[in-house]
Amino acid sequence: MDKYIRNIYRGVYTVLVGMRLTIRQFFEPNVTHQYPYEHDYEKKRNVREIPKGYRGQLYNRIEDCIGCKKCEMICPVDCITITGTKLPKGEQLWDSMNIVHLKDGREVIGIIEGDDKKARSADSVTLTNITSRQGPQEVIDRLEPSGVESRTETFASDEISRVVTRNPVVFYLDQFDIDMSLCMYCGLCTEVCPTECLIMKDTLEGIEYSKFDRSDLIFKFDKQEMYKE
């Protein structure tokens, strides 16, 4: 009889202990990643260090690219497509110009008076020939010389966040497409690149960039990209 009662006690007690254990798990945060919708690096969890020189997603710093097409030629799987336009002799896209980024978010396009290299360390910067067009939406419109006013403005150095110089352009790329669905990550293209503007990302974003549509894997680094800051 003693054993009988003990058995009932033991049964009830052990069930309750088990139930306490499971209900604790009920309120634990879940460990599931909604993988294609959220990535590890977005949630800042399970992030590991990536070794230097990891061959990840291809990326072209288009402003340094000279359009030599060496990468296109060496690519074993033809995943890079480049089309460039060279302007006829004597023509150029724009004159040399400067963009002054102000701390309040505005950007002013014009030409710096005097030596623009010295202007970066000077107390104040004077811009002449300021265009009326402003803001990053006007990237393509900067090609056009219209909208130029002969206005001059002086900015104190504590107003300015940075100063950018744009050199005149005689050659530009219409198309620089990299099809990452074809790429075999051999890294030959990055080795031949003379300006070392074509790189393979060794960040988490460069490792993990799955897409729902195969066409989303064609990454475009083109003219429009070029004039972005």
Partner: protein
Amino acid sequence: MSDFRVMLASPNFNVSESFFPNINLQDGLNWAEEFIQNVVLPRLPEAVASHFPVELGTVLVMFGCAGIFVAVVPLLPLVLVLAERKVAARFQNRTGPMRVGPWGVLQTLADGVKLLFKEDYIPPQGDKFLFLLAPYVIFACSFAVFAAIPFGQNILVSDFNIGIFYIMAISSVIVMGVIMAGWSSNSKWSLLGSLRSAAQIVSYEIPLGLSILTVIMLVESLSMSEIVASQSNGVFSWLIFRTPFTFIAFFIFFISGIAEVNRTPFDLPEAESEIVAGFHTEYSGMRFALFFIAEYANMFAVSAIAVTLFLGGWEGALPGYDILGGLPGFVIKTSALVFLMMWLRWTLPRLRVDQLMNLCWKYFIPIAFFNILGTGIWGLIFPEDTLVSTGISCAIIYIGLITAYKIAGRTFAERPAPQPS
């Protein structure tokens, strides 16, 4: 089932009245007629209203209500299957289905559509007629149970005067369907599963019936609505707290109920790791879906019956206030018990067959008999349910639980972890 034989032999039991239950049709007609007179007719043009067939309209309204009930009850398993998957996922730190609809709420619907279009395979060596019939037997019996459950004050299909007896009787027929399915499949997994199921259901029906008997003894009625009506004075008039014996009976009822509906830890009839899927191994497509729906409907039905018998049904927790009362209260209480079932499922491993029978015959049945004896003596000491009897009952339950906790804490104190040698 000795308890029902006793009841059938009693002089107060009127067979003709019980098997042709005296449903008060007039009440229902009055309600529907009032709806027609007060809501429908004032909204109609006068020329139509003067010629409106009120009697036909009344019948149509009643059919409409019945249609709503018939449509809503099969939706329960849809919700329950999703709830089961979500709760199971939470217990394992997962999220469960997330893709179909927001938070995966349409997953069950998608699964249902998938099952609808699957091939309906019939084993050529099996008994075709029984194979086709079995899912319908189980499905029909599972849903017939809902006819006697009072979901709210006026939300019940039929107020039998033998409601709980009807539920016990109709749910016993399920085992027939299970054996039909197992035998007609001509598969060893199915036959083993169905025979296990038969043994299990027949065994566990005894403690189930005996625990119901304690309630019937206190209420002195088999009618579900009278059982609910006797618990109308707040939480301490609920039958679980009425005597210390019904408190034990509730747990016996609930655990036997889990065994009745073949859920873990009593899922031997469909033990995945042993006999594939038990009695429904050979079923596919919509017939499998019927088994699945019936399983979850059973689960809800057992919880609903436990709520009706022991936890006050649709009556609230405080007299005069609508806390945990009405249809929402009933659904909340039932869902809590369903959650408890899922919680147990993810806590306990499956029992062995001998352990299953051991638990039933050596523990539940003697304790259930002891309960009946105790309830009878309690009824002699306190013929009426008064504040004093309830107070004494609650005090005994409280002291018993505290003592058990103290003793258990002393006896099974956590041992220190073994030191590595």
